[in-house]
């Protein structure tokens, strides 16, 4: 690994925050570790190499004791509080290191297992999730059940001590690399909507499971279709009880909505800082390349995006403060999700515009980010679904 990774000054994040100060011992210690142990070089754009890079990075993090710090100590974490997680994400961003390969396992599936899984399941799966030894995917959405998840049709029937699963999932992130998949299936054949669903753990490498990656507009294949034809899953690997699938899934969504935010304002502010430097470079070296109008427009867009990043930072801090006090972030996570999803797209577009021709050239980071960013306001609940949640659950408008 690298012996001196460049780390941006914390002022890139905005002003110091009294709740998570820049001189906090956690920040200083973790940042020192990152400087010494952070992965070498830039993350590859090619997806297979990128996944390998992130997997190696997760192993390094786990060996250093810095993976899944929010997990309880009994499962290999530090029991770190949300404010400490907030600091860790900011330090990750300043060091320019990616998230570890098995992020869905660390922030969603592992924590859901901790809440709803049996002790046996926790012992069997949690350590390997953390170490990156086993990769996990989340099988929820189906071709005809996206925003309306409760209409899902994948079914599982009990056959002795095994579930037999039949149906299809889609938009399953990194299923092609996954060893295990959470499958939300209808286990009560006569049931409708939210009732009669069960969450199962299914091994993906078995004859009854076929994974077909979906090529995206960015060229990545981050999402997959997963087909189940009499796939087997042990009955003992049921999470949250038979018929308890909807509630278990809701637990997972809460983790998803609340955590998404902590991660991303720092990364966006760092991306903006790189765009700023690039723009300053053009102004200083090739001012003739920019018309007065373009320059004024770039400056105005930068300032607006900086304000929005600061707003997201404060929103994330608010969520962390709420979680720190032991309360649930609940539907307020939808606000974070909405603000982040729209901002992610706009920062990526700004970045690509500043990059000029590079922004539309295949194989460049700017072009890749812009294309990939379109997913941000769609997955984990579209912006429109988040607006419904905000309007109905937080503002009390009728359904």
């Amino acid at each position: 690994m690298n012996d001196s990774r460049t780390i941006l000054d914390r002022s890139v994040l905005g002003p110091d925050l009294p709740q998570v100060p820049f001189d906090h011992p956690f920040r200083v210690q973790f940042s020192d570790w990152l400087r010494e142990h952070g992965p070498a070089g830039e993350e590859p754009l090619d997806q297979r190499r990128r996944f390998a890079y992130r997997r190696a990075w997760q192993r390094a993090l786990a060996e250093g004791g810095w993976a899944g710090i929010a997990w309880p100590t009994e499962y290999g974490g530090h029991g770190a509080t949300p404010l400490t997680q907030f600091m860790q994400y900011e330090e990750f961003a300043l060091a320019g290191v990616p998230e570890p390969a098995n992020t869905p396992g660390i922030i969603l599936l592992g924590p859901t297992l901790m809440v709803h899984g049996s002790e046996e399941l926790k012992q069997r799966f949690l350590p390997k999730i953390l170490a990156g030894d086993e990769i996990w995917a989340q099988g929820f959405s189906e071709p005809d059940s996206g925003s309306d998840l409760a209409s899902l049709r994948t079914r599982a029937t009990l056959d002795g001590d095994q579930w037999r699963i039949n149906g299809q999932k889609i938009w399953t992130t990194f299923a092609q690399y996954a060893d295990f998949c959470f499958v939300l299936a209808r286990t009560d054949p006569g049931s409708e909507r939210h009732r009669g669903l069960t969450l199962l753990i299914c091994q993906t490498r078995q004859p009854g499971v076929t994974v077909r990656p979906i090529k995206q507009i960015s060229g990545d294949e981050e999402f997959c279709e997963v087909f189940f034809d009499d796939a087997h899953a042990p009955a003992a690997w049921t999470v949250g009880g038979v018929g308890g699938g909807w509630q278990t899934a809701m637990t997972l969504f809460q983790f998803e909505r609340s955590d998404q935010g902590y991660t991303d304002h720092g990364r966006l502010l760092v991306r903006l800082e790189h765009a700023r430097r690039r723009l300053r470079g053009i102004i200083e070296v090739h001012p003739e390349r920019l018309s007065a109008f373009e320059l004024a427009s770039f400056r105005a867009r930068f300032a607006e995006l900086w304000i929005r990043c600061q707003e997201l930072r404060l929103l994330n801090l608010r969520m962390a403060v709420i979680a720190e006090s032991g309360e649930s972030v609940s539907s307020a996570g939808s606000v974070t999700n909405l603000v982040w999803g729209e901002l992610e797209k706009d920062v990526a577009q700004f970045d690509a515009d500043i990059a000029g021709g590079d922004g539309i050239t295949r194989g460049t980071a700017a072009a890749h980010h812009q294309l990939a960013s379109r997913a941000a306001s769609i997955y984990s609940g579209t912006s429109e679904i988040q607006r419904n949640i905000v309007a109905e659950r937080l503002l009390g408008l009728p359904r």
Partner: protein, 364 residues
């Protein structure tokens, strides 16, 4: 709104106490009545709030204050903004006083805090943030004299103490003058907002006392004013949105409340998000001032001012649309909020100027 930056017990106590008081003494009927009076304000209301000590919260003890932090002072101004109080509280306690506090002025600050004087902030073209004020100060014996004309001084005609931002040898400096000083002409300028009046102030060799020419102190004073003024604006935006949500719940068309229509729901959700984010900025700015954090503070406070002004105007404009026909009638309160928003947006500096200033601070 969607998140609450006021999470501590004392902050919530202040909020509920002030809100209860204003519900009783500054209802929209009372505000409309005060605005229709010749003087256009309710002097008794300012006096009661001053007597209760609510304008001294953010002021240090040595200047006659309670030293309870700008965050808590911002809570009071958010409530004042919600109620659209027709009284010179903003001018005196949010605009003039912070400059005197930042300058450490032991003579005038306590007079404003205890209500024996009313203050107003006067600045030249481009507002208090313009790098060089169009008002000029020149040394005159042991003191100074001021020259130039300032528009848009909130409640300038009501004040007995003027706090003036002027250029002294090309750098900003803060001065004070009594409103009865020689060489001073003050004319009321009515605005589209019946609850807020402005003044044009002309100086012709007007004698004035230097409060401070320390740039860090001036910046701190302006940042404090920004936080309080933004709190007032966001309070207005928040209340306008609440009135709108009430209307969406009660107005029925097509046999159902119009708030169940997704087109209106989504717009309302976006408005609520914008108000909530701007509120977070306001209290963040106040926290930075209370914690004495200076790095990056100017950029955040500038962003706060820009956002508060834009969000207030946008939310109240949308609120009229969401109310339909009743929204643009004189009798409905929502129009009061919109007109207040227009005046605030045009008052201190245009959001475009604020954005230009922010670009400079961010070194883009």
């Amino acid at each position: 709104m969607l998140t609450d930056p006021i999470a501590d017990d004392s902050g919530r106590d202040i909020r509920s106490t002030v809100r209860r008081f204003l519900n009783e003494h500054a209802s929209s009927a009372q505000t409309r009545h005060a605005a229709s009076m010749p003087d256009g304000i309710d002097p008794a209301l300012s006096k009661r709030m001053t007597d209760l000590g609510w304008l001294a919260i953010g002021v240090p003890e040595e200047l006659g204050g309670a030293d309870f932090g700008l965050r808590n002072q911002a809570i009071v101004f958010e409530e004042i903004g919600r109620a659209l109080v027709a009284a010179p509280l903003l001018a005196s306690a949010a605009l003039a006083l912070p400059m005197l506090v930042a300058g450490g002025d032991t003579e005038l600050a306590p007079r404003i805090v205890d209500g024996s004087s009313l203050g107003a902030l006067v600045s030249g073209q481009g507002g208090p943030w313009a790098g060089v004020s169009s008002l000029r100060a020149t040394a005159d014996g042991p003191g100074y004299v001021l020259d130039g004309t300032a528009r848009l001084a909130v409640d300038g005609h009501r004040a007995d103490v003027l706090v003036i931002l002027a250029s002294l040898a090309g750098r900003p400096a803060v001065f004070a003058a009594e409103s009865i000083a020689s060489g001073l002409t003050i004319d009321e300028v009515p605005t589209v907002d019946a609850t807020r009046t402005l003044a044009r102030v002309s100086f012709g060799a007007c004698p004035a006392r230097l409060i401070t020419d320390d740039q860090a102190r001036i910046a701190a004073g302006l940042d404090a004013s920004t936080a309080l003024m933004s709190a007032e604006m966001i309070g207005g935006a928040e209340r306008a949105l609440e009135l709108t949500i009430d209307y969406l719940l009660t107005r029925h068309q097509f046999g159902r409340p119009i708030g169940s229509l997704q087109a209106l729901k989504h717009r309302t959700a976006d408005l609520a998000v914008s108000v909530s984010l701007a509120r977070e900025l306001v209290y963040h700015g106040a926290d930075l001032l209370d914690a004495g954090i200076t790095d990056g503070r100017g950029a955040v406070l500038t962003a706060t001012l820009v956002r508060a002004a834009e969000v207030f105007e946008h939310v109240t404009g949308e609120a009229i649309q969401l109310h339909g026909g009743i929204g643009f009638t004189e009798e409905h309160d929502i129009g009061l909020y919109y007109r207040r928003a227009l005046v605030m947006r045009g008052l201190v500096e245009s959001p475009v100027d604020g954005r230009a200033r922010l670009e400079g601070l961010l070194e883009i």
